[in-house]
């Protein structure tokens, strides 16, 4: 019983800390609007990919994965580019909107790797 109550206290403690600190909202490009706080943006790489990630920065567009919305957010990214990054891939970047461009934090890009569990889908150009 002591143990159970301690576990319950811990759960509340965790609840508290995760609400109070850390954690970014994870949103899609169409939900970004003009929000200026730090967010995690998940989307589909669309439009031409230009620039150099290790110089002035890589520029590309990011649109919704489900494709229902036509919104495309311009992204500026510097730092490591994962192997799987290219047009048509699902990626996640952290950052915030500045003057209409989503400026990603250096090195924050994650691509979703094609998993052994996922059969090839139509949006996968490979």
């Amino acid at each position: 019983m002591i143990a159970l109550s301690v576990a319950a206290v811990l759960a509340i403690f965790l609840l508290y800390t995760s609400i109070a600190g850390g954690g970014n909202p994870s949103i899609s490009p169409s939900e970004l609007g003009s929000r200026a706080e730090k967010v995690q943006l998940a989307g589909l790489v669309a439009g031409p990919v230009r620039g150099d990630a290790h110089a002035a920065g890589l520029r590309f567009g990011l649109s919704d994965i489900d494709g229902e919305s036509r919104t495309m957010v311009k992204v500026l990214y510097r730092g490591s580019v994962p192997d799987l990054f290219r047009k048509g891939r699902h990626i996640v970047v952290d950052g915030r909107l500045r003057n209409g461009v989503f400026v990603a934090e250096p090195g924050s890009m994650i691509t979703k790797c094609p998993s052994k569990y996922a059969p090839k889908t139509s949006d996968d150009p490979a």
Binding site: A7, L10, L14, G22, P25, E31, K112, S115, Y117, A118
Partner: protein, 664 residues
Amino acid sequence: MPELGRAALVVTLGLGVYALIAGAAAARLGRRRLALSAQNALIAAFVSTLVAAGVLLTALVRHDFSFSYVARTTSKALPTPYTVSAFWGGQEGSLLLWLLVLTAFGAAAVRLNRGWAKSLVVWVVPVFAAVIVFFSFLLVAVASPFATQVAPADGAGMTPSLQNPYMLAHPPLLYLGYVGLTVPFAFAMGALLSGQLDERWLVATRRFTLFAWTALGIGQLLGSHWAYVEVGWGGYYAWDPVENAALMPWLAATAFLHSVMIQERRGMLRIWNVLLVILAFSLALFGTFLTRSGVVNSIHSFTQSSIGAWFLAFIAISVAVSLALVFWRLPLLRSPTRLESPISREAAFLYNNLLLLALCLTILWGVVYPMLSEAVQGESVVLGRSYYDFFLRIFGLPLLLLMGVGPLIAWRRASLRSLATTFRWPTAVALATGATLLVLGAGSSVPGLVAYTFSAFVLATIVLEFARGTRARKALGATSWPRAFTSLIARNRRRYGGYVVHASIVLLAVGIAGSSAFDSVAEARLERGQSMRIGDYTLVYRSLDERQVSNATEIRATLGVMRGDRDLGTLQAGKNAYTIEQQVSNEVGIRSDRLTGEDLFVIAEQIDPNGTVYFRVFVKPLVNLIWVAGLVFLLGSVIALWPDAREQRRLVSREGEIGVPATS
């Protein structure tokens, strides 16, 4: 052929349903013949699943693309080992592997225990059968590996990143771990149903739990090593939901393996142990669910699949039913003994359990938080690395310290004076180590320094225990020191195997602390002939070569490596461009220092057409201790798992008086 596979699975389902109904009826009504028949049905289910697995394996090896599964996961050009590994490369195949391992464990657990724990096993059979029914139902009705189609000329092939030796061993080991946790769960439920809540169910499942736990641990470490060597981002663990999915049941099982000892010895923590087993089993199911359902944002992308909802329902039902059983048996679960002092071995084990559970809950919270926040606030919030790192320090460091304290402190009640005597030397060693490291500059990371100091403490206690035990055996008449040492381990495998596992966790902690708290990174764009420095290493970019192999173009940059004035030879880093799959993969260059365990880790991040390369270089001190820890962990587990004739005799002789907690 596909008909045979389908039929075999239907037979498995039928046998499962029979074992469930007949087993439950036999246990309820006390029919011995019927109970035996249900047990045999469970064993037969293993045979029929083996037939189904054989059919799929044959189809894979023979490149029979009329099986949709084979066409989807392999191709003719795929090397044979990976053709075999495609068995668990897709959803249906991995479910079949789940079922195969499940029925194998069921058959083994029933056969090994029905002699000495008959009255318990009759109730275990229907529980096991229920889990088998779930999985075989999925395979028959929802996700059949034996779906057929008009055979295409060639299959779709396998993702290049999965074509490496790690994928031969990593997934099956995780499955052994996940599925193995069904055994203690089924026995715990059997104990609740039968009302026989003495420690027999713990004794019957100890080795199964230990085996599953070992497989899960090694499987995860292999996954980490794969990420480190093959994926090439410079790390080995990213707190990704799919990685966490395997870590959570492992932590719960670790807590269970410890608290079990308290129940065996003192009859305490009975409710707690049952709850831990339920937690471990549910987390194993949850882990499988996470990797299948696509509900989490993971670097592994998972398409929405049909079986996610089934899993969620099964988890909900098994948790609800098992908690109801616990509640029902609450009067019988009450411990006859109480905690006597907060400074005792029981208490130390309890603290260890709480910390392990806290860590487990931390991770669970982090995994489900995006979903919960989406449901509550309408917006998914993701908890980042800092969240996990923070709690790993808060809960992990005290856990590390307790690993040295727990095994040495007295049962029931320890006096402060005895504590001072016991821990005098380890404390001195730890303080000396800490002070030395501080002078050497380890103060740059306080958590890292604390981790090192605690590690020295634990290692000192382990060495002390081995030394003390060996000396005692020598005094008792062992002919030589090595013989005294081996007989010490042989006479109490569980205890000394445990110490070896503890030593491996220390190595792991030191490796993690070294590579995460004291690492360094440098990056630069280099033209041929230019060089860069990191720590006391100097790297010179010498040349760039392109090579055409059968399925890819390999580009490699060659770097000369110097450490101080010493020439360490060359290192290659580059990229492979896979032609058919249109995929690029980083091929990192790693130079390990055998003596210090330090790695120089080079990524060629970007290779420009004019031959300049953007390099990202890490120096990771002590990182190789993590992999060494895996070997030591395996050694310790094998020592603890090794069959012990003396223990068997003890069990048999105690069977009469079982239920009375041993005192001493």
